[in-house]
Structures are given as structure tokens and as C-alpha cells.
């Protein structure tokens, strides 16, 4: 007796093929004899089933435990055992077509079958989702080429050559043009199949936009880290530099002061002028050195004070307002009263620096204005300083936070303002950035509110 669910064992027939009759028919039978390595083992197994009072057999298999119930009978003088499959793993007996279909329908990888000319025959939901088309649209004559941006032509030719040569292509990365016109980065690979003298391509398509965004993010972080390390190196240099320069400056400045106080020259006016010039020059150098010194203190721990944002911003605006008004530049400020944790002096220095930069860029232009706006969003303080000037070109924007980078005429800018401002914000756990979505020059300083609201 051999059916889909049972096996008859007869003593004396030891080969599996004979034992199980049409063994292939009985699902799970392979697990039954799979652990029996040779005829001796099989013999003793059969013997045990026939002689002992075993009523149930449990076979462990990769698909779980398969249970067989055992019964015996004697016929024509021979004892036989009948093993009946008592239960089976749920996947057993699942029709192959159904299994494959569910893989095709539910796979997160896009699957697509197309002709050699690029006409599509079949696409799974994942692929349709990637390209943003409905199934009917994809089936009604849409081709691979309509969705491929022209700049990938060369790459596509290479992949087709690979397909012709090896029967496979990819994996490689490209973009598809989605139905809404946007592009989506994908990674593809596939192979050639032949059927009835015709050739087709099966392709597997993955949406890699998240992966690509992550890669870009990593690249941005790497650049930031590089920038930070450069600042740190410069900071170390600057600390030594400041000390070395300030000593001779002390001597020059001290003697210049004394010289003026002595005032015994024949031409007191000229003497005063000379002394003033020396003092001015010293103070300018000392100012630059001071900036370098602050740069070196970027990583040192600092105390954050809790102050109303409007106070800090108010200070900065008061200090710059007169100068801007004098040159016909309108300065407006809008600020909330939220109490924030910050380094107030340093923060107002940042705002003053941004306002002064804006002023330098737009002074003398018609209806020039600078706008300061501060607000709290998502637990983050944002200070926006925007002016009527055009946003800097990308090549300037890319370098503007570097120390010593300046677009101002020689002698007018130290090139340290933005890098120091950036350093101050980093110290407060925030950052300074150029808003590239604005047509005007617009800087945004962001840092965490940092106090219990």
C-alpha cells in the first residue's frame, strides 16, 4: 500500500526504493529515511518497527517534526508495517506555482520580465511602486527605454553587451524616470532566458534612494569631521601664535603709549599721529589674534547661561542699528521672549557678525535691508539673518565657513568671522548654515533650547 500519505514496510526488503515503493510520492518520506545511512541501519529500523510495539514515530526534519502513526498487520505469512503520515508541516504540499506567485507578488524587490527590445511583459507590485505606474499602464506598451534617462545610454549598452556575452547583467546603478517625472535611483541585475526560440530578460530592481541618501549623509558628515579637524589643528597653531605675537605687540604698544605721554617732540601733532597709528595697527593685529585665540577655545567646556533670547538679539541689534541706519540700510528684528541656554556674549557676537557681513555686502545698493528673525521650533532655537543681497554662488558657499576665506577687499575682512561664529554655535551644540532655498543671502543659526520649558 503506497499512497500520498502512507508507506508500507515489509521485512526483508531493505532498499529504500523497494521499501517505499514509489517513494517520491510520499511527501516527507525523505525525512523518514534520510537519517539511515546504510542498509544495516535501515534493516534494524524496519526490524524495530515490525517487532516492537511502536505506535508513533517522530522524525525531526528541517521543516519541523513530522509525525507518522505506525500499525502492523500480517498477510500471507509476512508481517508488514504501515506508516501513515499523521500531520505535516503546513508548507508541505503547497503548489509550486502558488508559492512562486506569492514570491512575485509580495517581494520587496522589483521584478520585471521584458522582451529584448525593452517592451514589458510583466511587472510585480514592488516594481510598479518604484516607477509609480499602475499595472494597466505598465502593461499597455510602456518600455524600459521610456523610463531610462538618456545619459544612461552608454551604460545600458555595456549591460546589454554583458547580457549577450554571459547571459547576465549587473548589478549596476542607474535612475528611472517615474510617472510623475521625478527620478528614482535603482540598482538592477538580471539574466537572459530563452523560450520557444524567443529571448527575454528577467530583471531584479531595488529602490536605493534611502541607501543613497544615507551615503550622501555620510559624505556630509565626513566633510564636517574633516572641517572640524582642520579647525582644531588651526586652533592649536593659533594658541601658540597668539602668545608669540602678543609679546612683541605688548612692547610696541607700551612704547607707543609712553612716546605719546612724553610728548617732547618738536612737532607734537606728528608725534601724536605716529603714536595713534602704532596703537591702531597694534589693536588691529591684536583683534585678529584674539579671533584666532577664540578659535582655539572651540572645544573647551563652557558655561551656558539661561537668558531670554530677545535680550541677546536686542543687544546685537542695538550695537549695529546706528551704523546701518546711517548708510540707509533698514534693519528689522523680530524675536520671541523664550529663555534659552546659550553663551550670551558669544551668541550676540555671532548675530553682530552676521548683520555686519550682510551690511558689508549690500551697502550702497538700492532699498537695502537686513532682517533678523528668531523663533523656537522643535526644541531648537533658530536665528535667521537675511539681507536684500543675492545668495552667494555655490563656490563661495562651499568655502565661506573656512578660516581666512573672505570675499571682502584686502584689509577689510579677516576671513575669520563665519568660522568663529560656526565654532561658537558648535560649542552650543548647534550649527550655522546658509539657507540655500532662499534667493537672498540668508543665514540660519540653530542650537538646542537646552532649558526645561
Amino acid at each position: 500500500m503506497t499512497t500520498e500519505r502512507s508507506i508500507t514496510l515489509v521485512k526483508g526488503l531493505s532498499r529504500p526504493a523497494a521499501l517505499f515503493g514509489l517513494t517520491g510520492i510520499c511527501i516527507g518520506a525523505s525525512e523518514l529515511w534520510g537519517g539511515l545511512h546504510d542498509d544495516v541501519a535501515l534493516d534494524s529500523f524496519v526490524q524495530r518497527l515490525l517487532d516492537e510495539d511502536v505506535t508513533e514515530l517522530r522524525i525531526e526534519s528541517p521543516r519541523g517534526i513530522i509525525r507518522w502513526s505506525v500499525s502492523r498487520f500480517t498477510e500471507e505469512g509476512r508481517t508488514a508495517a504501515i506508516l501513515v503520515l499523521a500531520d505535516r508541516a503546513p508548507e508541505l504540499g503547497w503548489p509550486r506555482e502558488e508559492k512562486t506567485r506569492s514570491l512575485f507578488e509580495s517581494s520587496q524587490v522589483g521584478l520585471n520580465l521584458c522582451r529584448m527590445d525593452g517592451r514589458w511583459l510583466e511587472s510585480n507590485p514592488a516594481f510598479l511602486h518604484i516607477i509609480g505606474y499602475a499595472a494597466e499602464e505598465a502593461d499597455s506598451g510602456l518600455t524600459y527605454w521610456e523610463l531610462t534617462p538618456r545619459e544612461y545610454d552608454e551604460q545600458e549598452r555595456e549591460q546589454l553587451a554583458s547580457l549577450a556575452e554571459t547571459g547576465r547583467y549587473g548589478p549596476y546603478e542607474k535612475e528611472f524616470i517615474r510617472k510623475d517625472g521625478t527620478r528614482i535611483p535603482v540598482r538592477l541585475n538580471g539574466f537572459l532566458i530563452k523560450r520557444d526560440g524567443d529571448e527575454f530578460i528577467w530583471s531584479m530592481i531595488e529602490d536605493i534612494s534611502a541607501e543613497r541618501a544615507l551615503r550622501e549623509q555620510i559624505e556630509v558628515e565626513r566633510l564636517k569631521a574633516f572641517q572640524a579637524s582642520r579647525l582644531a589643528t588651526l586652533g592649536e597653531m593659533a594658541a601658540g601664535f597668539a602668545h608669540e605675537i602678543n609679546n612683541p605687540l605688548t612692547v610696541i604698544d607700551g612704547y607707543a603709549t609712553l612716546l605719546r605721554e612724553l610728548g617732547t617732540a618738536e612737532d607734537p601733532d606728528l608725534l601724536a599721529e605716529a603714536c595713534d597709528s602704532i596703537n591702531d595697527a597694534v589693536s588691529r593685529i591684536s583683534h585678529i589674534v584674539g579671533g584666532l585665540g577664540r578659535l582655539s577655545r572651540i572645544d573647551s567646556a563652557t558655561y551656558l547661561a539661561e537668558v531670554p533670547l530677545s535680550e541677546v538679539v536686542g543687544d546685537a541689534v542695538r550695537l549695529t542699528l546706528r551704523r546701518l541706519q546711517h548708510h540707509g540700510v533698514t534693519l528689522t528684528a523680530e524675536c520671541c521672549d523664550t529663555v534659552v541656554a546659550c553663551q550670551p556674549i558669544e551668541l550676540s557676537q555671532v548675530i553682530i557678525n552676521l548683520i555686519n557681513n550682510a551690511f558689508d555686502a549690500i551697502k550702497g545698493t538700492a532699498s537695502a535691508w537686513v532682517r533678523v528673525e528668531c523663533f523656537v521650533r522643535d526644541e531648537e532655537v533658530r536665528i535667521v539673518v537675511e539681507d536684500s543681497g543675492t545668495r552667494p554662488p555655490p563656490e563661495v558657499a562651499a568655502r565661506m565657513f573656512e578660516p581666512f576665506f573672505t570675499t571682502k577687499p584686502v584689509g577689510e575682512g579677516t576671513g575669520l568671522g563665519l568660522s568663529i561664529s560656526q565654532g561658537i554655535l558648535v560649542q552650543m551644540g548647534g550649527e550655522l548654515e546658509l539657507d540655500i532655498d532662499q534667493p537672498n543671502t540668508c543665514f540660519i543659526a540653530r542650537f538646542p533650547v537646552g532649558v526645561a520649558q
Binding site: A239, G240, A242, H243, E244, I245, N246, N247, L249, T250, V251, I252, D253, G254, Y255, T257, L258, E261, V282, S286, V289, G290, G293, R294, S296, R297, S300
Partner: protein, 115 residues
């Protein structure tokens, strides 16, 4: 004013200009380019105010402050920024003057100590 004013800096030219600058303001200063000699002097003399450079070859101004036992007014003078992070100076609440120096400011501090 009781006690004298001491200025310590490894740069002789700065010692010289400080002497002249403060003399112009009616203050006599005794200067040292070697902090060890300064320590010896401070411990055996009635000193009202000490100005000391921060970074010197033999020791830092903060080490000097720890060595001397004085009730004199003590000020650090520096051209760098390291002094601002010095825990000893912070603990002593020690005021830090930046180079280039302002003679008027120094004179005011001396006056404060004297009154």
C-alpha cells in the same frame, strides 16, 4: 601704599616697558625675568600686588601662584588663551589681563590694592 609691586615676565623688553609705563603713573615696579627669583623675593618682602606672565620657561603663572604664600593682589598677564582654562586660576578667582597691556588698568589695580 604699603608693600611694593612685582612684575614677572620672561621677556626683558616687556619688563622694561612696564617699568617705564607704571613709573609714568607714579608706581615703582620691581621686575623679574626669572620666576624662581621672584618667589624668593615675594616670600621675604612686603608685596602688595603681583603681576605674572602665564607662560614662562621655568613655570606657569599658576604654578607660581601655588608656590607663593601671599595675601598680595595677584594678576595673571597673558598673550595666549590657555590661562582661561587653568583650574588653579579659576579656583583662586584670579583675574587675567590680556597683552598688549593697558598701563592705566594696571595702575588702577595697584591703587585698588593700596586703598
Amino acid at each position: 601704599m604699603s608693600g611694593c609691586v612685582v612684575y614677572i615676565d620672561d621677556e626683558p623688553m616687556i619688563c622694561r616697558v612696564v617699568t617705564l609705563g607704571l613709573r609714568k603713573r607714579g608706581i615703582d615696579v620691581i621686575t623679574f625675568t626669572d620666576p624662581c627669583k621672584a618667589i624668593e623675593y615675594i616670600q621675604n618682602t612686603d608685596v602688595a600686588v603681583v603681576f605674572s606672565d602665564y607662560r614662562m620657561p621655568q613655570m606657569t603663572g599658576s604654578e607660581l601662584l601655588q608656590t607663593i604664600e601671599t595675601t598680595a593682589g595677584f594678576y595673571i598677564v597673558t598673550g595666549g588663551t590657555g590661562a582661561f582654562d587653568d583650574p588653579v586660576l579659576k579656583a583662586h578667582n584670579c583675574r587675567i589681563l590680556l597683552k598688549p597691556l593697558d598701563f592705566d588698568e594696571m595702575a588702577a589695580l595697584v591703587e585698588e590694592a593700596g586703598s
